[in-house]
Each structure stands twice: as C-alpha cells, then as structure tokens.
Amino acid sequence: MPTPKKKAAKKGAKKSAAGKTPAKDITTIKKSAKANSTGKKAAVAKPSGNKKATNTIGVSRSIRSLDTTSAGMDLNIIFKLGLGEITATHFREGNKIDRKKITQSGQVHFDNVQVNDVISINGACSGSCTLITNRQTDPPSDSSQPRAYTAGSIFDNLLVEQ
C-alpha cells in the first residue's frame, strides 16, 4: 500500500506530467449501468496497442440524465525506476461506469465525471508512481498534492468533490 510522499514526489510529478503524451498501452472496459445493476460481467475490450486512449463511456441515458455538473477527468500517471500497471474504475451510485488500464506512464481520461463519483485505483509498481488529477478530490490529487506510491501494491479511492 502506498505511503504518500508528497514532498518527494511533487517535483518529479509536476515536471513529468506536464509534457506527457497519452498512454500508449491502455485497455478499456465498458460497462453499462444496466449490466452493473444485474451483476453481469463487464465486456473487456482488446488492448488498444499503441493507439491513444479510446473514449469508452458506457453510461446509460438514465444515468447521464442525472448529470448536471459533470466534466472530464484526467489522471496523469508516472511510473519511475521500474514498471507499473494501474486499473482505474469510475463508480457512480454504486455502479461501475467505466474502467481503464494503463501499463506505462501516460494519461487516462474519463468523460462525464460528476461530483460524488469515485475513481478507484488498483495496481502495482516496481519502482515508484505518482498520480495527478485535474479535479478536486478527497484525498487531494491535484498537481500541488499528487498521490505518490512506493514500490508494491497500489490502492486508492478518489472521491470527486468538484
């Protein structure tokens, strides 16, 4: 489990996140709200190889209609001194809305992320990892307070506040 080392990670994360291109290896998993509610398994899309992250919003109309303050959410992830892998899952009202996997430093984008949605972060790294988002979350994850993870398992939940 990561131990945030904010001061140490801040500098490198800021620097690296700014000029990064989107992840080259991102797997996306679509899931409709209906499928979630009935407990069906999510359909797993094939890895996109060297292509950029695909827009994979799988939200049903009923859920989208609740959206009054939604915006995109970017997760900039930097792995250092080793490999890493992170799966980020977007939750709303107890349902899995979207899931994306990143296997090297880059950016993950979720469309239509509302206040009180949660982004669940799961994965591992063999060196260190820094995560920065462009939204106000609890715990904070913006560029001034990036989430920093040391070698080992990575577990985090970001509650979107704004």
């Binding site: 250092k80 001194l81 080793g82 009202e93 430093s105 398992s153 985090d156």
Partner: protein, 391 residues
C-alpha cells in the same frame, strides 16, 4: 594514502552528488542486493579500495552508464526510458589506479562488464507486477467495494469522509490497526469481507482483531520480491591493466561469472552458488618488449552464505567459501607449477548501509601458504550521505 582516498571520494561526490540540485532517484531494488551481487554487477556507483594490506593495491571506481546519465537527466527514471535503456543498465564500466607496496602508481586498470542474464532485477519484469497484484487480490476487491459504497448517494453523507479517511489509513498507515476503525466503518468493511468471501482478510482479522492491514499488504509484496532473490545473474567482463609507464595492455582478462540462490528465499539465512571463470593474457616478463604471450586459466566455484536482518531484510554478513583451479598454458616461469589448486574464503561485513569491508584469504594446500587481503567497498550514495552528515 588516506588523503588520496578521501580526496577521490570527495571529488566523485562533488562531481555526481552535491553539484546536482535535482531530486536524487533512489534505487530501492539495489539496496537489498547482497554484497557479493554488487561486486559482480553494481547498479549505481561503487568505490573500492582492493587489497590495501597486500603488495598490489587497487583503487577502483565502478558504475553503469545509465546511472550517470540519470544523474544528469532525472527524466530518464521514467519507465519508458527505464525500459529503453535496459542494455545500458546491465552494463558496468570501471577504471582505477594500481599502486605498489609503497603506494606508488603502478598502472591504470579499466574494464567493462555486461549482464547477459539478470533475472534478479524485478523492476523490469511485468510478471513481478502480476504476482504482486495476484498476491493482494483480496485487498483490491475490498478497495473497489469501498469505492462503490462511497459513490452511493444512499450512504450517509457524514459517514463518507470518515469512511474514506479511515479506509485510507487502514491501507496506508503502519500505525493504524483494524481495531482503530469506528464501529460503523468497521461494520461496512466486515460486511464486504463476508459478502465477497475475502477469506484471506477474514482469517487475518479473526486471528488478530488488532491486525495492521498496511503491514499485511506490504508483506504480500515482500514475499513476491523475495521469490526473485534466488534468480540467476550471469555476467561477462573484459578488463585490462596498463604498464606503469605506458598505456599498453600488460594484463588482459576475460571473465564470466554466474550467481544463483539455492536456498529458501524467504529465510533470512541464504546460500548462493557462485561460479567464475577467467582467462588471462599477460606480459611475459622473461621476453624482451611488451607482449601478451603468457596465458592462464582460472576456474572457481563456491558458495556464498548470506545473513539478512529479519527486520530490514538487508544482508549484513556474508561468508564465501570456494575452490579454484589454475592452469598456465603459456609462459611458465622456472619457479612456477603449471597447475595450482587453492581454497579461498571471503568474509564480508556491512558496516553502513552501502559500505562493506570484505576480507579475502587464500590457502594453497601443497605449499601450505595462506594469503589475506583486506578491501573496502563503498557505494557512492552512502559516501555522499556520510559526507553530508546524514548517515
């Protein structure tokens, strides 16, 4: 001589350390390697003063090009570059000055060393990540289920921040135990553990209600890392030594070395197999002029015992026993035997995190002669810490 040693240490420290204002990357994978492993392949910097009690001393600096490049450009630590420069990370180069008994210059030495197989470096294996994730799968499920609960508008608004904060503490804080959770938060977690049949966590909690989940997650990762400790390392090296007065080869050595752990990697007492073969081409001093017509082979096989601290997992004591066989192909001197069999030993004590003091000795059964050499091997980062007063 002491002045020379510390001047050189200080110069290198200034060159690579204090001159930099960038964040210093920490090579965590390397810090747990055995001293024997670091002698075979260093992943950062090593400063060695070899055989300083013997007649033929050497002051040697070893490093790898990637480490030096990373000092200049910390962005090279990003995984994409880390993979891209894998070949450079497996390459070591060294240079040094040889000194005679009265500490006078006796020639330069230089060499390169390449790891053909380096399976101990878990940082480059995706398999390692999969094993870590599989080991801690229960914690991943629990984490996602907490995210699900947090995202529901039916969850009490006052409970949400407490649940989020305490769950983070449970996973991240080594001083936060399961029993410290508020009853309502604990109930949510226990319900998930029961509903999702997370037997691993359930067992931990039932055995000890005061269990530290952060430690359990870390232990899962450590177990996987330990399983990489026994993996093989195979290197090939070429080194040479110059004459005292000119930069021509006087001793060219081609060496190959193989290391592999053979004991239970989880045990803090470990044993590794160490095999080494060297072919030397030396100047035949009986012939006029400079040549490399004297050639000899040396084969050595041994076992290195490693004693690790239970608390930190750092190796702090090592003892190596080996037997070597030498054969002189060409250039046999009058008072020499063509074949030589010796028994060798090496005692290595870690005095600081990255400073080792190895004592080597050699016994020749036929003549009954015993030779001993005392060395000092210091990693640059440790030296930097020492000079900065941090250690």
């Amino acid at each position: 001589m002491k002045k020379l040693f510390f001047s050189l240490s200080l110069s290198i420290s200034l060159l690579f350390g204090f001159g930099q204002t960038n964040e210093v990357p920490v090579l965590t994978a390397d810090s747990l390697a055995t001293g024997n492993y670091k002698d075979v392949l260093t992943s950062f910097f090593q400063l060695a003063f070899d055989r300083f009690t013997g007649p033929d001393k050497e002051l040697k600096f070893s490093s790898n090009p990637y480490a030096i490049m990373m000092r200049a450009n910390p962005d090279l630590a990003v995984d994409t570059n880390y993979i891209k420069y894998r070949t450079l990370r497996n390459l070591n180069f060294s240079f040094g000055a040889r000194l005679n008994e009265s500490y006078k210059f006796n020639g330069f030495s230089a060499g390169i060393n390449y790891a053909i197989i380096n399976k101990r470096d878990e940082t480059i294996y995706r398999e390692f990540l999969y094993l870590v994730m599989a080991k801690n799968k229960d914690y991943e499920i629990l984490n996602e289920e907490i995210a699900r609960v947090l995202s529901m508008s039916t969850t009490d608004a006052a409970l949400k921040p407490r649940l989020n904060k305490q769950f983070h503490s449970l996973y991240e804080d080594d001083a936060f135990n399961f029993s410290m959770l508020d009853p309502d938060v604990k109930k949510i977690i226990e319900d998930i553990i029961r509903d999702k049949k997370l037997s691993g966590i359930k067992k931990l909690i039932s055995e000890d209600g005061n269990v530290n989940i952060h430690d359990a997650i870390t232990k899962g990762y450590e177990n996987v890392r330990q399983s990489f400790r026994n993996r093989p390392l195979w290197t090939v090296a070429v080194s040479d030594t110059s004459y005292q007065d000119q930069l021509l080869f006087s001793n060219l050595a081609i060496t190959t070395q193989f290391l592999k752990g053979i004991s239970d990697p989880a045990n803090n007492h470990g044993v590794e197999l160490d095999l080494k073969g060297t072919v030397n081409f030396l100047d035949d001093s009986l012939r006029a002029g400079n040549d490399l017509k004297r050639s000899l082979l040396n084969v050595e096989g041994g076992l290195n015992y490693v004693w690790r601290s239970k608390k930190t997992d750092l190796s702090f004591f090592e003892f190596k026993m080996s037997a070597s066989y030498g054969y002189i192909f060409n250039g046999l001197y009058a008072d020499e035997k063509r074949q030589l069999f010796t028994l060798n030993g090496g005692l290595r004590i870690r005095v600081f995190d990255d400073i080792w003091i190895p004592l080597q000795f050699r016994y020749e059964p036929k003549t009954g002669n015993v030779f001993g050499f005392l060395n000092v091997k210091a990693n640059f980062t440790a030296m930097s810490k020492l000079l900065a007063g941090k250690s």
